[in-house]
């Protein structure tokens, strides 16, 4: 599916250009006003980036995981909210590409997605499940060839600005909470009623309040594979890798501000190494660790997914689940540590919100990382898996 190296590097170059020229200049306002980064998403549409993961025969760019990660990193470094929205969109697209590929309905939908550059949001959270996406209260109610699906979502990121939404629910009204399916609902067929607000510390531009979703559609829009399999094979690995790539972007931009600060200090007194330089060496050490972690997971995932059988067994193995969970935990901690270290380097210039060294937005955005799917929940999951994993 991946195009040649030149094509992938061309896509990454286009993403970096949009990130630098469109997303970065708007980042401070997006953060301050907690508004959707519409110009950055519109510019991605013009570059056809929203279909990056869709195979070329359906009109997409045919990119693999490593290219997606580079795109999310580029947007994350310009504007954390844009980076996260970009990541979340590609996670949804990946679920459809990888698990709807054989269905005529979803093939046609993916062509339309590329043609119109549709933005997909996700409604996995629900009032009453305590934050566990692998459990649903609501059920999709089938009636012949059509369905009705209503849900009280605790959060739908960019819900108001999305074209379509992927929704988890129980398979049927008599199914247990863990027997879930994933359904695509189309903009013309759903209504959203805002139930909560989104005035947060960081990631303000993702505009993620709670909504009451009411929708209907045709049963073709329900992905055939159980959501449990879609989650293990695609949603969880894509989420943790692309989120981590976005956080890597945030960390990289913070470090680049700190580097500039230290160089400026050094130029004032050639011959002496400024005291902040050793702290810079320290954060760059952490940044390298984080970058290697993200790139290694993205490459491994891409090569597994390229295998003829889709490497279903490896993607569903406990060893891979533990590794991907560890990527999320480590990256979410590193981004916070790195940004905080950078703030220490630039000092009061970073504490102020209106200098070229400002770190407030980076720090507040970074703080979301350990909370979105709480690290304690993931540690508990790994602790449980390690009881049976042998690693031999």
């Amino acid at each position: 599916m991946e195009q040649g190296a030149n094509a992938a590097s061309d896509v990454i170059a286009r993403a970096r250009k949009v990130a630098r020229e469109v997303a970065a200049p708007a980042a401070a306002e997006v953060d301050r006003e907690a508004r959707f980064p519409k110009e950055a998403i519109e510019a991605q549409r013009k570059e056809r980036l929203l279909g990056a993961f869709v195979p070329t025969e359906l009109g997409g760019l045919g990119c693999g995981m490593t290219t997606l990660a580079a795109i999310c990193e580029a947007f994350g470094s310009a504007c954390g909210a844009t980076g996260l929205i970009t990541a979340m969109h590609h996670i949804q697209v990946a679920c459809i590409v990888r698990h709807g590929g054989d269905s005529p309905y979803f093939r046609k939908y993916l062509q339309e997605l590329c043609d119109k550059q549709l933005l997909i949001a996700s409604a996995t959270s629900e009032v009453g499940t305590g934050g566990d996406i692998r459990s649903s209260v609501t059920a999709v109610e089938r009636d012949g060839a059509s369905f009705v699906l209503n849900k009280d979502a605790t959060t739908i990121s960019y819900g108001e600005y999305a074209d379509d939404i992927l929704v988890t629910s129980r398979r049927a009204p008599d199914a247990p909470p863990s027997d879930q399916v994933l359904t695509l609902v189309r903009k013309a067929d759903y209504t959203l009623t805002k139930t909560t607000t989104w005035d947060t510390l960081g990631m303000r531009g993702t505009c993620s309040p709670g909504f009451r979703l009411e929708s209907k559609g045709s049963v073709d829009q329900i992905l055939p594979l159980p959501f449990g399999d879609i989650a293990s094979r695609t949603m969880v690995p894509f989420s943790h890798i692309l989120w981590a790539a976005c956080w890597l972007g945030i960390a990289t931009d913070a470090v680049s501000r700190a580097r500039h600060f230290v160089r400026t200090e050094a130029r004032k007194k050639p011959g002496t190494v400024p005291p902040t330089a050793i702290r810079l060496a320290e954060v760059i050490n952490l940044l390298q660790l984080m970058r290697n972690n993200v790139h290694d997971a993205a490459s491994e995932c891409e090569s597994l997914m390229k295998k003829a059988d889709g490497a279903t067994d490896e993607l569903l193995s406990i060893g891979f689940a533990i590794k991907i969970n560890n990527l999320k935990i480590a990256s979410s901690q590193l981004v916070q540590q790195i940004v905080q270290g950078c703030l220490g380097i630039v000092g009061i210039q970073g504490y102020k919100n209106d200098t070229r060294y400002s770190m407030g937005r980076h720090l507040r955005d970074a703080l979301s990382a350990s909370l979105m799917i709480g690290n304690d929940r993931i540690y508990a999951r790994n602790a449980s898996l390690l009881l049976v994993h042998k690693d031999d």
């Binding site: 159980p226 193995s317 406990i318 060893g319």
Partner: protein
């Protein structure tokens, strides 16, 4: 062996229906077994049958039904594992 597996599922599978009503090839995940509960089922099976499931067997398809669990245990206890 299948009776012992059923007993373990009754204790640890947290199924939403009575395990006795489930056929040998019935889907345990559709019957409400969560991935968290499946870890407890794996542990209890390892204890009960004095076996260790190698990592290659620790996947959804092996723990999908009573029949698939039974086949895995047979493979391990017949020395073919």
């Amino acid at each position: 062996m299948k009776d012992k597996i059923r007993e373990i599922l009754r204790q640890h599978g947290r199924l939403s229906k009575d395990v006795d009503t489930l056929p040998d090839d019935g889907d345990l995940y559709e019957a409400g077994m969560t991935s968290h509960a499946s870890v407890n089922v794996m542990l209890a099976l390892e204890g009960q049958f004095d076996i260790e499931f190698p990592d290659r067997m620790l996947k959804r398809s092996v723990f999908q039904s009573i029949a698939s669990i039974s086949a895995a245990i047979e493979e391990l206890t017949s020395g073919g594992g």
